[in-house]
Symmetry: C2
Subunit: 201 residues, 2 copies
DNA sequence: GGGCACCCCTGACACTTGTCACGACGAGGT
DNA sequence: ACCTCGTCGTGACAAGTGTCAGGGGTGCCC
């Protein structure tokens, strides 16, 4: 019996996936949570063999949760299961010690397969996504550029960002300019969009 | 037997939902599609009693698909099932003739319930969302303001928008200014964010 | 017909942004 | 010690943006 822990903020898909996995006679869903913060606690409780984590969740990110989980329960293997096949997500998932990466565009059987393979010690990665990840490369953004971009994401002005980060407005503009250049964008909004698509957020 | 058609771009959740629904002994999933454009054709083929449509899909929108479906097969009832409980979505879904509106945050049983209720002629709407929808009110944006905002969404400059819509730059700026005022924003980016949150896109 | 709302345009103004050149500091590697 | 890189800052300039006051056009409704 493979013991599985599910983490996804959308109760409906979480429940549906639990049902699908539960139908397999070598898989047992031993826990479900709806936020990244609950993952480690639930895992300590349920002692799963495999944890299936969504990336976008309230509270802690699925990728952060993966890292925490690896640290707390090294025996528990992690699969990241996400809506968006962002190249950067894959890279960060691997860095966080995940053993598998599945996109929700794939058919459900692939998820079941992934659970089995990961449990048996293999790694599971979408080949197309892996190729794209290599092609896109790692993020060229420096830490500060990322901060500034993230702060500007929801439409703040330079002054807002400067205040939030305790920086001079000129510095913010410089960082933004650099980020715009590196992303090949022409506007800060475009730079945000590109960076998000690539998972450089 | 209630015949159900599923439309969702994410194969994994589509498949999982199909499994969950199929387990009920009064429900039968008679078709699945992954884009809005295929909905009507599939419905003609499968003759479902209830169609379950996601909002965000490649090609035609779930809301547009709902309207088309109502026109083509008036006997088929429609449930909109979406990730985001945007107030504007609910309003548009109702305008498109949908009989139900379910958010994916809700537990799976609620989906099954919704299918049964809708099939028996009732309407199903999340009460909290309905309240929010009434509170937020209808979109104050004029058609053109919406167009301009949508065009500016991905970070285009005024010049880009003007070219795309065959307008003068001054006109674009005026529309943007009006939209910014109506949304209570201070930046075009903020206006886009607010409008999207409210479902005014 | 007279409002009214929407659409399109113009021109002008203040302000914000994006870019560039430049200097200074500290951390890291050779 | 040297160089590189990231970080923070300044100052200045061109371009883009947001706002305002106008004007003209259409279609709708009382």
């Amino acid at each position: 019996m493979i013991r599985v822990l599910l983490a996804d903020d959308q109760a409906m898909v979480r429940g549906a996936l639990a049902t699908v996995l539960g139908l397999e006679n070598d898989i047992e869903v031993v826990g479900q949570v709806g936020s990244g913060d609950e993952v480690v606690a639930a895992a300590r409780e349920a002692k799963p063999d495999v944890a299936l984590l969504d990336v976008q969740m309230p509270g802690k990110d699925g990728l952060e949760a993966a890292a925490d989980l690896r640290a707390a329960l090294p025996s528990c293997r992690v699969i990241i299961c996400t809506t968006f096949g962002r190249p950067g997500y894959l890279a960060r998932a691997m860095a966080a010690g995940a053993a598998g990466f599945v996109v929700k565009d794939a058919p459900p059987e692939q998820l079941v397969e992934a659970v089995r393979r990961v449990h048996s010690g293999l790694r599971v990665v979408d080949p197309a996504l892996a190729a794209e990840s290599l092609a896109t490369g790692a993020s060229p953004l420096t830490g500060r550029e990322r901060d500034v971009l993230r702060e500007a994401k929801d439409g703040s002005t330079v002054a807002d960002v400067a205040r939030a980060l305790h920086l001079s407005e000129g510095t913010v503009r410089n960082h933004l300019s650099a980020a715009i250049g590196k992303t090949g964008a022409r506007t800060r909004a475009e730079a945000v969009r590109v960076s998000e698509e690539r998972g450089w957020l």
